[in-house]
């Protein structure tokens, strides 16, 4: 158990993922049960709806040392609560602008719509995020040589 914990602690880069219970969480589950291969850098925080995700959560996760943050919910029109993701969309698109304006590197955040049937797409999102993080790390390491 401790060994597993230590492994988790050391797994870098670390991505904190806020996943909607009704779609993206199930999408991640489908990727797993379908034995699709994607990096195990994810720490999932299940939320009832992407509308629950306060921009504070994203910024707090980054402040606490997450290498990247993923927020993922149902496609617009598919919200379990009819409109939660529409509110989320306004907040997240505005937050994207703030992160871009303040120069936060784009590999540190990603906001996506992933449905319960999109296991393949979910795995692809994670692969892309980890690739971008690894590329950024390599670039930073080169800069120090």
């Amino acid at each position: 158990m401790e060994a597993v914990q230590a492994q988790h602690e050391d797994k870098r880069p670390k991505i904190v993922a806020f996943l909607c219970n009704w779609c993206s969480y199930a999408g991640a589950d489908l990727a797993g049960s379908g034995r699709m291969d994607y990096p195990a850098n994810l720490r999932v925080i299940r939320v009832p709806c992407s509308g629950r995700v306060d921009p504070l959560f994203v910024l707090k996760a980054l402040e606490q040392g997450a290498d990247a943050v993923l927020v993922s919910g149902c496609h617009p029109g598919d919200c379990h609560y009819a409109k939660g993701n529409y509110y989320a969309r306004r907040r997240l698109t505005a937050l994207l602008e703030l992160l871009e304006f303040t120069g936060v590197p784009p590999h540190k955040y990603r906001f996506e719509w992933v449905s319960a049937s999109e296991g393949k797409e979910f795995a692809q999102v994670i692969r892309e995020m980890v690739e971008a993080l690894n590329a950024a790390e390599q670039k930073a390491a080169m800069a120090h040589v």
């Binding site: 401790e2 602690e9 606490q64 040392g65």
Partner: protein, 352 residues
């Protein structure tokens, strides 16, 4: 002015700072990264510029960093492991701070010397050598000469006082420690003309601060001034921010907190302010200082009633930062003056 007067030509300041920085950690006025004057650790002695007006920059950082880690810890299956964080070692010199600021720093040490167990924090302020710089003219909200005398404050607190005169500075060496600081300056004996020029600068500052606004410690009991309407009147516009206390060279309140990240963390000390609403908030949600009037009263009485009662000195030396930087123009000098006037009226006498 007490002490042996020396004269240091203006072009020798840089080499003096360099000599001091060779053996001590030196803080001095420099242009900060933002382009504003600030007091900061001297890395390049030539960056120290005594002509900068850094009188609105924070001075508290010199002896009490806003956040200071006391120790770190790690948690694992064996329990907690503590890791000490070494305290800064060696001698430290505050170079080019003003008499009011110097006096404020020294007065704070009274608080930390109270009781059986002196707090090492206060002793850090005590251990810091001060090379003061006398002001040629006051800023708009300065009131050192209304709450005391900048000359007395310099004598109270500085190890060496520099007074700007034509061509350089007159150095008054006030302590043995000051003697060794001035010893590496290369300053020569000052001429009597130079000494009298410095004397004129000393008197000039005092006359430049209006004499009619003089205030001092409140000669009253807390009960007598507690209900003064002045606090409610002025407190009505107070927004409860920490500008006055965080910029005050004599404010010293702090909080101690633990912060954890994953399986490790740190205990640290950080500035706190009696002007914040949660400063006195109880766990029960009761707040004994329930409005800004009460918080303003605390700030004023701490400096002008409790500190004089406890230590015989005011906790304010008139640097004027709070009044100049307050977003809504609350002046502690005015509040004290109004309280004194109200007391005098009640007692049927007029204050001079």
């Amino acid at each position: 002015m007490k002490g042996t007067p020396l004269f240091l030509p203006g072009d020798r300041v840089g080499s003096w700072v360099g000599a001091l920085a060779g053996s001590s950690t030196v803080f001095g006025p420099q242009v900060g990264s933002s382009g504003r004057p600030e007091f900061a650790l001297v890395r390049d002695p030539s960056a120290v510029d005594l002509s900068l007006d850094a009188r609105r920059a924070s001075i508290r950082e010199l002896w009490m960093p806003q956040t200071e880690i006391l120790f770190r810890y790690r948690l694992d299956s064996q329990g907690a492991t503590l890791e000490a964080v070494p305290r800064p070692e060696g001698s430290r010199v505050a170079f080019g701070i003003r008499p009011c600021e110097a006096a404020a720093i020294r007065r704070v040490t009274h608080v930390f010397r109270q009781g059986k167990h002196p707090d090492p924090l206060g002793l850090e302020a005590e251990g810091m050598a001060i090379v003061g710089l006398y002001c040629a003219s006051p800023r708009r909200t300065c009131f050192c000469a209304q709450v005391g005398s900048p000359v007395d404050m310099a004598e109270e607190a500085c190890d060496v006082l520099m007074t700007p005169i034509s061509g350089g500075h007159v150095l008054h060496v006030m302590t043995d420690r000051g003697g060794s600081l001035a010893g590496v300056s290369g300053a020569a004996q000052a001429t009597s003309d130079q000494v009298s020029a410095a004397g004129a600068v000393h008197a000039g500052l005092i006359t430049a601060v209006p004499a009619d606004g003089a205030i001092g410690a409140l000669e009253a009991t807390a009960l007598e001034v507690w209900a003064s309407e002045v606090f409610a009147d002025q407190g009505a516009r107070c927004i409860g921010c920490g500008v006055c206390t965080f910029l005050c060279p004599a404010c010293h309140c702090f909080d101690i907190l633990d912060e954890r990240q994953g399986t490790g963390g740190a205990r640290y000390r950080c500035w706190d302010s009696c002007q914040f609403d949660h400063f006195t908030l109880h766990a029960s949600r009761h707040n004994p200082r329930h409005d800004q009037a009460a918080r303003l009263r605390q700030r004023v009485l701490h400096k002008f009633l409790y500190m004089p009662q406890e230590f015989g000195v005011t906790g304010c030396t008139g640097c004027g930062r709070c009044a100049e930087l307050c977003p809504v123009g609350i002046s502690i000098r005015q509040v004290v003056a109004d309280v004194r006037a109200a007391m005098a009226q009640e007692q049927g006498v007029t204050v001079a």
